[in-house]
Symmetry: C2
Subunit: 319 residues, 2 copies
Amino acid sequence: MKSFFDKTGKMALGSRLRMLTARFTDDATEIYKLYDLPLSPKWFPVLFILIEDTEKTITEIAEEIGHSQPSVTKIIKEMAAAGLVASNLKSADKRTNVVKLSEKGQQLSEKLKVQLVDVEAAVETLTSEARHNLWEAIAEWEFLLDHKSLLRRVNEEKKLRESKDVRIVEYEAKYQSAFKALNEEWISTYFTMEAADYKALDNPKTYILDRGGKIFVALYKDEPVGVCALIKMDDPDYDFEMAKMAVSPKAQGKNIGWLLGNAIVKATKELGGKKLYLESNTLLKPAISLYHKLGFKKVVSRATPYARANIQMELVLDN
Amino acid sequence: MKSFFDKTGKMALGSRLRMLTARFTDDATEIYKLYDLPLSPKWFPVLFILIEDTEKTITEIAEEIGHSQPSVTKIIKEMAAAGLVASNLKSADKRTNVVKLSEKGQQLSEKLKVQLVDVEAAVETLTSEARHNLWEAIAEWEFLLDHKSLLRRVNEEKKLRESKDVRIVEYEAKYQSAFKALNEEWISTYFTMEAADYKALDNPKTYILDRGGKIFVALYKDEPVGVCALIKMDDPDYDFEMAKMAVSPKAQGKNIGWLLGNAIVKATKELGGKKLYLESNTLLKPAISLYHKLGFKKVVSRATPYARANIQMELVLDN
DNA sequence: TCTAATTACATAACTGGTTATGCAAATATA
DNA sequence: TATATTTGCATAACCAGTTATGTAATTAGA
């Protein structure tokens, strides 16, 4: 068994924990027998709460011990059948089921305290024999996972790894079809293609590059999965417009938008631009949030050839 | 939740482990989704084994991953339904169900490897953030519990604590009824009371004390629960006989036999005895093993007034 | 060599939890 | 103040494992 987990690595942490848990719960049953306590180990958390604070409702107990409410309902039912608790006590709120220990339950809990002392001592001995403190380790991991779940941590690792496979390159003629297709994909999903779209997407060289603009392509494992254009503007207020940003849905979650955006900002600076402009639609939540992350701020309306534009943003470059 | 476990103490280690386990397995489901792997997390151990060694029987897999055989049977059934494994492959032994990954299963396992790397990295990061190493702690506790189970450890604590409530005192007239009752209890359970029994048990003063012997009584919480006599012998080979040892079944597991035996040995020395003798019956396994623990060795037969005696032992005192 | 014991596995039933759901009581709101 | 929403809890159904049990195939033994 040990060797199995050595082979699997940390991926099997859940499995390994489950097995260790099983050892404890199996032994718990025997330990209760040893002390001649007619208790089911699973009653322990509920019993413990009722020893501490005499009267409690089902939901209160569930919250305190971290179980679901139906779990506590079941446990209380079993304990009531064993004569350890009195439930459905009269209370102002008739929905609640107020529970407290019966006489028998109190007597039993006195005997339980003796057992608790021995178990505590046994675990303490175990802890002193071990170099690694399991109890403290659990507490610490609970804290760390509260702060950031394993899912989020894995997701971050995934993005990190995948972004290493993403390269941002300058536009070449061979990417023209990808440039058009990627844009057409999202535009026609949310809106409809307009005349201005066709002009730029069909003739990027004439309409973007030759006029002093740039286009960047994001390659994931050498396949184009994202594009973005930097278009020279003929406007006293702005030097360049960031436009035609598109990322394939298949390549989502790889930070590609962020990498393209950064490439655009860097290129603007290299070309001596001071202010970057963009148009978008508030329907595109992830895009808007990306623009904010890149430092863009909303600006007041301005004439636009696109029907779908309902928000305009700018980024003032400080160097 | 944390505060709940702070209050309960180590007794709730099982509960706490179960909850931490739940966090991992819940997140595992989401992680598989993130990688677009149509796998159930519970398949992982089986899948892992099949990636390592192509062909395996159900029982082999169960042993390697530490699950029960029916658990593996169920998992294989599910994986077969999902088209990941081919089961019931032809084999010499027709009882066995030989299983291997299908083409689809192999493709999926390739994708799984990518995920494994990310999870490993995420857990590694977690470990580096933590002061206590959970993975190592689990491995160590598994080892320590293999060596001595929690049940045994708790039992030892219990005996230790209870033996503190046991006092060995010298016989007084008020213990005569206990002396008789405790002996009568076990003798009549396994054998029948003999004439020699009644003589000694009814008149301990005349037959034991007045002849230079001693009787010790073990009190548990001031109740007599064990007795043992040291009887002066009229024999060139032996000075004293240890006899009439009896411990109440209710007080078993408190080391009382051992404590009484030690009291007898100590008294023999104080009285200047060099050799201690006893008679017993091999039916009484725990008693014989106690005598061995006290240092008694078997000796060859010798005349005895007791029909039930079928083993004789002696202890030579060295000081 | 024939029978008895063992082995491999499928199935059923149980365990200690969970989520989903519905109903009655209490509270909030128009 | 009537209605909508929320709350507390019981019940049902599910989940990932377990133990118990029955059956067919194999192996051991008299």
